[in-house]
Symmetry: C2
Subunit: 297 residues, 2 copies
């Protein structure tokens, strides 16, 4: 069998984003943890980590991490059957990557009772929906919510539903930039809000209106910040309907062009051999999500 | 003088987190941008980039990026005086790192008029208040908001005020875990919410109550998600008062122990030779922030 002391050292350094913290978590000295990683590299004959800050796994390192993650999930199941193996009756932990907008809206309500009943603690990692799968592939998370359907090797994907986005701005912003009504061809010269370099929602919206090419924009990698900037009139942006029901009702935010939503599908990716708890959470989400997400057309 | 074609190539690869996107931004082929970086490394006799995904600057690379950032700020001033130099009358951009809680609360209101008047676009980068300075040191941002006072070399810091945090939970959470009233010594065995591995606010709060050591917690690196998880009863957590006025008024969230806030100072770090626009923004923030932040005791 593999030497799991060495593999845990690798996992700790990557998960804690550093040798010092990785060592702390394992209760080792920093030189002990580096030695374990050097030994691992000597055994497999190639480097498992790029020594940058933070350290990142090499390709082979990523495959090893993936394996560690799956073994951990299997151990969880065994612990529930053989409680003596369980170290100090610790609560279970699941590491899950999800998009910021899900976390800012429906996620907490969807999982709160499940977590309380199962005594489950969550390690949440926020990733844009288009890049969350990287974390699955790297074996850093047990599950991920993202916009793409295709699962990584060893995992399954399940459609949860779609989030509905609307292009919104504040009344003051619209009055300043569109005194004669919103015209699609002027949108590119009006500051937009974009979540980050991987967010192409605004591009898709403009393209759907026949506007192609670049456009003026602020970058704001925070769901809540995005709403605050929209309310304060810094720009227009595509915002989850779920997140701004109050503002739409009060008129603090207004749709730019009437009833032109964009729906983004959300898939739940989870390891096929991910164990019982992950299976239960998957079933729970499959049943619960219809309350917040719309069906995908 | 330095060869700024080579330095811009380095900046583009780091800022765009990859060779492909860096090349795109500069309108170059990928092989052209790698050649520029190799040439830069040949000239200075050492590597400027760690070729990981994403590429990260070496120490010398970081110092070069810092320099590029400062030159860009100086160019902005010159462009306003010599408009012919200005490429296509593009709006100004400032890259600013700030903590998620500021972005989720007061930031947008504080800067919206300033941005509209100056035709300024923002590239916002979210960093925990304790680590945002790394971005300054790396020369990746023009300014940063963080909890530590000490400026990096070449920069100044200015106290904006403090954010007030309160330890809150939902009434259902309190009823479930503390049927006989909240007791400090039981808090460590009740799930807490922690923003991320650099967030020690909950540790400080527990320590102030005489509770030391580890405690059960979820990890949730999102301001808005943090509130949603608190409301849904997944845990207790320290939350900016500014962000939950409505919930405190309606009773959807309740303070665990009466009137035990923690104040976190926020400093504005900006390059000393950062140019006119950054100077104006600094003056503006110094005047405006008192509306949202409390004085530091």
């Amino acid at each position: 069998m593999f030497d799991y002391k060495l593999l845990s050292a690798l996992a700790a350094v990557v998960e804690q984003a550093g040798f010092e913290r990785g060592a702390q978590v394992l209760g080792l000295s920093q030189s002990a943890i580096s030695q374990r990683i050097k030994l691992l590299e000597a055994r497999i004959g190639q480097p498992v980590l790029v020594r940058a800050s933070p350290p990142t796994p090499t390709d082979i390192g990523r495959r090893l991490l993936n394996h560690v993650q799956q073994v951990r999930l299997l151990e969880r199941d065994l612990q529930s059957q053989v409680p003596a193996l369980d170290e100090e009756g610790m609560p279970e932990r699941l590491r899950i990557a999800l998009n910021a907008d899900s976390l800012a809206t429906w996620w907490a309500e969807a999982v709160s009772d499940f977590c309380a009943e199962q005594h489950l603690l969550l390690d949440l990692v926020v990733e844009d929906q288009t890049v969350g799968l990287k974390r699955m592939r790297a074996g850093e998370v047990a599950a991920c919510i993202c916009a793409s359907e295709r699962p990584v090797a060893g995992a399954r994907s399940l459609l949860l539903g779609a989030m509905r986005y609307r292009a919104l701005a504040s009344p003051a912003f619209i009055a300043r930039h569109f005194p004669e009504g919103v015209r699609a061809d002027q949108l590119a010269r009006t500051p937009a809000l974009v979540f980050g370099p991987d967010d192409f929602l605004q591009h898709r919206y403009l393209a759907s209106l026949g506007v192609n090419g670049g456009f003026e924009h602020h970058l704001c990698p925070s769901s809540e910040g995005f709403i605050r900037l929209t309310e304060a009139g810094l720009g227009w942006g595509l915002v989850p309907e779920l997140q701004v029901r109050d503002q739409l009702e009060s008129g603090a935010l207004v749709e730019l062009l009437p009833d032109k939503p964009i729906d983004v599908p959300l898939y739940w990716h989870h390891w096929r051999s991910g164990g019982q708890l992950l299976g239960l959470l998957t079933d729970h989400l499959a049943q619960a999500c219809g309350q917040w997400l719309v069906p995908l057309e």
